[in-house]
Subunit: 681 residues, 2 copies
Amino acid sequence: MSKDPLVVFTPSGKRGRFAPGTPVLTAARQLGVDLDSVCGGRGICSKCQITPGYGEFPKHGVSVAADALSEWNAVEQRYEDKRGLKPGRRLGCQATVQHDVVIDVPPESQVHRQVVRKAAADRTIEMDPATRLYMVEVDEPDMHEPTGDLERLARALKAQWNIPGIRADLSLLARLQPALRKGKWQVTVALNKAHDDDVARVLEIWPGLHEDGLYGLAIDLGSTTIAAHLTDLHTGAVVASLGMMNPQIRFGEDLMSRVSYSMMNKGGDVEMTGAVREALNTLAEEIAVEGQIAPELIVETVIVCNPVMHHLLLGIDPVELGQAPFALATSGSISTDARDIGLSAINHRARLYILPCIAGHVGADSAAVALSEQPGKSEDLVLIIDVGTNAELLLGDKAGVLACSSPTGPAFEGAQISSGQRAAPGAIDAIRIDPVTKEPRYRVIGSDLWSDDPNFAAATSGSGITGICGSGIIEAVAELRMAGLLDENGLMGSAAATGTGRMVPEGRTHSYLICDASGNGGPRITVTQGDIRAIQLAKSALYAGARLLMDARGVDKVDRVVLAGAFGAHISTLHAMVLGMIPDAPLEKVTSAGNAAGTGARIALCNIGARAEIERTVRQINKVETAIEPKFQEHFVAANAIPHKTSPFAELAKIVTLPSPNFNAGSGGGEDGARRRRRRG
Amino acid sequence: MSKDPLVVFTPSGKRGRFAPGTPVLTAARQLGVDLDSVCGGRGICSKCQITPGYGEFPKHGVSVAADALSEWNAVEQRYEDKRGLKPGRRLGCQATVQHDVVIDVPPESQVHRQVVRKAAADRTIEMDPATRLYMVEVDEPDMHEPTGDLERLARALKAQWNIPGIRADLSLLARLQPALRKGKWQVTVALNKAHDDDVARVLEIWPGLHEDGLYGLAIDLGSTTIAAHLTDLHTGAVVASLGMMNPQIRFGEDLMSRVSYSMMNKGGDVEMTGAVREALNTLAEEIAVEGQIAPELIVETVIVCNPVMHHLLLGIDPVELGQAPFALATSGSISTDARDIGLSAINHRARLYILPCIAGHVGADSAAVALSEQPGKSEDLVLIIDVGTNAELLLGDKAGVLACSSPTGPAFEGAQISSGQRAAPGAIDAIRIDPVTKEPRYRVIGSDLWSDDPNFAAATSGSGITGICGSGIIEAVAELRMAGLLDENGLMGSAAATGTGRMVPEGRTHSYLICDASGNGGPRITVTQGDIRAIQLAKSALYAGARLLMDARGVDKVDRVVLAGAFGAHISTLHAMVLGMIPDAPLEKVTSAGNAAGTGARIALCNIGARAEIERTVRQINKVETAIEPKFQEHFVAANAIPHKTSPFAELAKIVTLPSPNFNAGSGGGEDGARRRRRRG
């Protein structure tokens, strides 16, 4: 008694017996093997490419003969002639099973393929997008059985793709009839199926087979910058990335000043809403050009942002977020049409998903960080710090996750710093101060060379040195401390007290001169006592927030620290620890996650299940409100020292014996000290 | 052992025992008694008014003491002072049960009250609107448990009103926070719950108790006229009715000429869509003024229309409806935001429902007629004819319903008639011709007097006599036939042949002169041979359509005929039967349903269950396509005679013995005959 041929699929290992003549695609579908197809087996989309293996497969207990699959056929030859197939590949809808066979499904033929994340190479995103293409053959209208074209499309999608139900908005209805007739009743539709909806939306329709793909935008909408990633919804590849400044900056540098703007100016919120929406349209237009795709192919957008940006984007006056109890209009996720926020540069029916907010100060961006970094799945206790204009903190492990926001202000971003600027070419982003000579050497964005390199001047001549950015100022403060130019209270010494002419008087205080290009019309870059105070306030707030979460959790140390945010990627963990920005942790346990919020947005864009997951997760996160917690102030004050008193780096900061217990000794005599130095030099 | 007091509600008869002190509203709810409440028992909305009965109620086995309910309380007194309560009334949320009691729920306190339909007095609409008001008390935000205001509103609606889930669009979110704070966390929301959706939409929110009601628009969008009824969604009352011309008339009188306009003019469909949408906005604005309500209180719209108007309204090019196979873009019902069709004059979040279409020629207006007239529930076989620019026919009973459309053209509406006009003041709408003298007497719209009344001239002097409308021309043709001035083939006799100087030559044919005001600069109103032909074609088409349905059903007579449409309301059934417009039926079995399509729209507006019902019904209706049915032409030709040959009125039409078998005897000599008459006179 002869058995039907055995078919083994790799890498899944799924196997089954099928009657000779069964197409490989059919076998795969019946076994639940993840083999892609857009055209539904018509031999035109080529998504179902497979590689048959021949010979002995002892592992699978199969011996595969050369005639295990049907012969190469005319459809495959046509495709080969037109586009070319990789050697050894067959079309799964054309090749039929004849004898026992082992079939490999290459990654690009899998719907749920794993995409390696750029930023964090050790994790992957599984592709399972909300919007997919389906080619379908629709019955022609019949006067004896009059039904609408939409109803026949729905019937065909149910019969051919098992789609239980569809809906279409009026603008799609207007495109339906011409597309069906132009495609001779074969069309490709882009169907969007939300994770919380049984019915799929028809976002777009094309005559025949649509071969130009589908795209989505993952947008990290920050207070200062907006970053977008144009993502291929089929492959998960990032096709283009683009950033721009948030035009709302003209209404206020930080969030609270924008809330104030809205409170002080009638219609101010509407103005700011208009500005950010316009910016998103510009960004969408430009990124489509950059990615060389038609903007209409962008059918989905995922946006992550803090609560104030969230409300301003949605057209909600953020005034309630500016005062206790910091009530959000809505904390849930937003699923709506992208056109509802005026996003007109992309497909008219494109969908928009905004992750849920965690609390009035901890927004969808933090939710995205949680989605990307998964603190709730961590075995060890992890503290995740997203440093932006405000800092958002997540502390947790499998036992639970806590969240809070800390009002660091924008000092860490280079704002409110005398020579500060945002991280852009020309900004000093790294600095070292020689503990003996007290002389600085530094690097500027745009060049890898240090300032003591002979080629440095030539390399930086393009933009010159324009200022100091967030990571630069953090390093500068930590280095000043380690070089003995700053005491633990954050007081700068005078030239006399510190013995270096780099300390220059500035009113009643002193500044450290990093470089002076004022002779050539360039800037004179110093770290002032005011800068030190700003950084001290910011780092104390950050540290106090972390301590508050640790209190709530009942721990006094964490196993590891993850720095998220673009800023986190550039910060020197050593300097951050010396500064006392973050709680104590072994240095090797302090890592950067890059733009975790942006990654979270990409995950939610590429994987529909991730949306349900983060909505669940956010509900389970315990929120700690720093503004009303009396202990916050206590921790804040205690964290003021550089480094904070319990820091393991306290010793490191004291490597240089300070000449005097009180730097003020040189105060008032600073001018003299400087003059002395010039005389000596 | 004492029992709890017995509470009997009338008219439902529901009864139960409740602990002393139970509010009447609570008792009603527990028993499932239909007692309204918007404020949820806070004593401020007054919707729960009840009337306790005192004394003996043998039927209910109860004796009610004077202290059966708690004493009149301060809340009731406050309401009484402010607005007044009808004598004997109590507030169900305030009055508590003390002893056995009989409580009457007056109709205006019932949610599901029965509303008598104006047009058809023998039927009622049960109120069960999709949108209702709910007053709710929302928890204030808590920093320790941060949730959005929307989420707390949802929680409150679930706890206080058992609403399982809500959604709100962005524009509502923008209104949410101010409303909650202004109302001190008490708000009234308008919730719309579609029949095919588990989740309710928040359409509007007001601080505190909203007392200005909710309204809906039922719109009958015809090819020629648009009629709207502003309806109170709580009481079901029609607050205002308003009609206007469809501005698309400038693109073509009838539907097919509008389809042609779209085919011949690029963008023509867009132009027509814009015109009708603008008209709807104007109508909505005006009807709100007429009804003295704020337009924002209009939160729902139901529209019924024929397929071409349907597509043009929705922004779909109707070109496919102009040619076989007459494919609709969608045949299903439409549930969408009213703003999606540009309806901006009403609430921004108002919903729009359009009934399903039955077929490419049988639209949502016919579905509305089916909803109003319920042929599928009829015991006897009913033929429903909706006469408009096209005629739609429904034939059926409990065993099943058939539908078709007949291309009557607009002659029945007075179009394509030499002196024709639409039914408006000044139009002749009724006419009688004396069978002996052949002299006419007639009535014009705007006056009840006949033209032989001494006061007629004075009564019509306002608008004068301007033309003849659809019902007028039908009567004129039938009267001409009965007066022996027209033969059964539809040929007009000359003055010589008919012996009346009213017959005047008109080229090679003759016309019947109804009146001549040309001496005073007024019109000369005649019925020409061309008019007769136009009516003959129209009535043959109508009759042939009806016959086709009867063939499909396998019958050669119907039990009754219902004439729907504004036109149907004015038509003389006797004259229609003489003309042979409709199949034979006893004269008393031919009735008018008034504007049944408009009534169907009102039903769908006031009762959410009716939407599900008509969607089911429409799927079960069997469609007959006249355009491809060879028998149609056969019936059409056979129906050409006036009256058709098998008519029981054939004898009636022959009451006057015709002077000659061929009216053409007088042809050519018409001029002479007229001259002769003048000489004689």
